[in-house]
Amino acid sequence: MYGGGNTFEGVKTDSVATEDPVLLAEFEARIARGEKIEPSDWMPQLYRKQLIRMIEQHAHSEIIGALPEGTWITRAPGFKRKMALMAKVQDEVGHGQLLYSAAETLGKSREQMIDDLISGKSKYSNIFNYPTFTWADCCFISWLVDAGAIVNQLANAKGSYGPYCRALERICAEESFHLKYGHHCVIYLAAGTQKQRQLFQEALNRWWPPMMHFFGPSDKISTHTEVLMRWKVKMGTNDEMRNQFLDMYVPKIWELGFTIPDPKLKKNTGTGLWEYTEPDWEEFKRVINGGGPCNQERLEVRRIAEERGKWVREALKSAKTTYVTPLA
């Protein structure tokens, strides 16, 4: 799940001007040829910094994203759904580990990343700052939030950094189960009783605005990312990703007879692009900066887990092994 709506710092392109021009030209030529960058290769500071930031955010999103769904494992309807949801949550946490490892190859330790998550310095996907009131909310995440993440991840898997691409290939393969499972859950709600249908319709109404936020701010207001696109760190603009998601999933939602709470939503047959009410970007900013309904709870759960696990780590520590930066 969950690589979406990354926030990039304002790119200061003047930092690129101080890089060695010969090495920079070689680096750019390699990317232009479609070759991957490996950890031992030379890379501009800006590339390293933005990649760490992006992969780290993605990893945190997997870990935090497991919380709103994890809370439904004990209450999932029936044994089979419980088993499936447990497997899915386990996958998400596993994806977090794969991504932390990929970010580590760039020189930031996992320990530091976890600390930065808990202290609120690093961000994660904004959508997980909203609560899952009912089973239908959980189904919305399994199907549509995962679908949105897959759109992003498939694009990012074609990026330029070798270890990130390899992690994403693995992740995308596992996501196909999540997507099928999520769709299966929603079909059963749609084909169920009036009450079940209503449950999902209400979840859809609640989650649609954060879902639109998921792909990040509109291209009109988002920071300049041209250099990141050229270096294949970012593989598409936020609006392109949002459009691709709408294209693939709005028809599937309508097919099930649900309504999407946006009267302006329609596909412009001329341009092939979707038209929609502009999401509330002030709300997005407020939530990403800690003002959402669940921000504090999500981080507290992580922090308490970290503190409670301390004695286990202490009991296991051994001077016989040492940490070094992983290879690939």
């Binding site: 497997a87 503190e307 092994t321 290879l327």
Partner: protein
């Protein structure tokens, strides 16, 4: 905490919100490189890393994280610092061209050799050489395996690898039964069709 989830509400209060208590040294576990054999007769390939306090736990974490769904026939792990790494090259430059000649020491330790033949892909095991040091292993590997362009070479002493023992080979035999992990187990097509047919009838 006041949460929708009663289990979260019941969590004990520890420390101050947002403040992480200082960590003990070595809190950061060592990293281990994970290699998986996808099928019988196929070479082992690098899959990623795990963090663990020792090599046996690294093996268990590797099994959980890398063979949960992609089942395999075997798995091994080695601590990252025990992997000897050559320079990385690109274009037409062969990494073996940068490997220095080392005279034979006569010591016969086994070293596993891995090649990166395409940037962006995994390192793949090519075979074993006998040597007295990793440098010598690289030098010997150049004589034995230098048949096509490679961009990076790894050498790992076999005694530093935690292998899968014959008794452990049944670790993966339970996986095919876990159908609930497979996308193929969620066929909603019929249910969806019935639903759509019914909708048509009523409208």
């Amino acid at each position: 905490m006041n949460s929708l989830d009663p289990r979260v509400s019941r969590l004990p209060e520890i420390g101050k919100p947002g403040v992480i208590l200082p960590k003990i040294p070595l809190d950061q576990f060592a990293s281990f490189e994970v290699f998986v054999q996808p099928r019988e007769g196929k070479p082992f390939q690098h899959e990623g890393i795990v963090h663990a306090p020792n090599i046996d736990m690294a093996y268990i974490f590797a099994k959980e994280n890398f063979t949960r769904r992609f089942t395999c026939t075997s798995l091994y792990v080695a601590e990252t610092r025990n992997v000897y790494v050559s320079s990385t090259t690109d274009g037409e430059r062969n990494a073996y061209d940068l490997v220095a000649d080392v005279s034979t020491s006569g010591v016969n330790d086994e070293y596993e050799i891995f090649h990166l033949v395409k940037r962006g892909k995994q390192h793949i095991a090519v075979g074993t050489v006998m040597a007295g040091s990793p440098e010598e292993a690289m030098s010997t590997a150049r004589k034995m395996f230098n048949t096509k362009l490679v961009y990076n070479i790894w050498a790992v002493k076999r005694s530093n690898i935690r292998l899968t023992t014959p008794e452990e080979l049944d670790l993966w035999t339970t996986l095919p039964e876990k159908r609930f992990r497979d996308a193929g187990d969620y066929k909603g097509g019929d249910k969806l069709k019935d639903f759509l047919d019914k909708q048509k009838l009523t409208s």
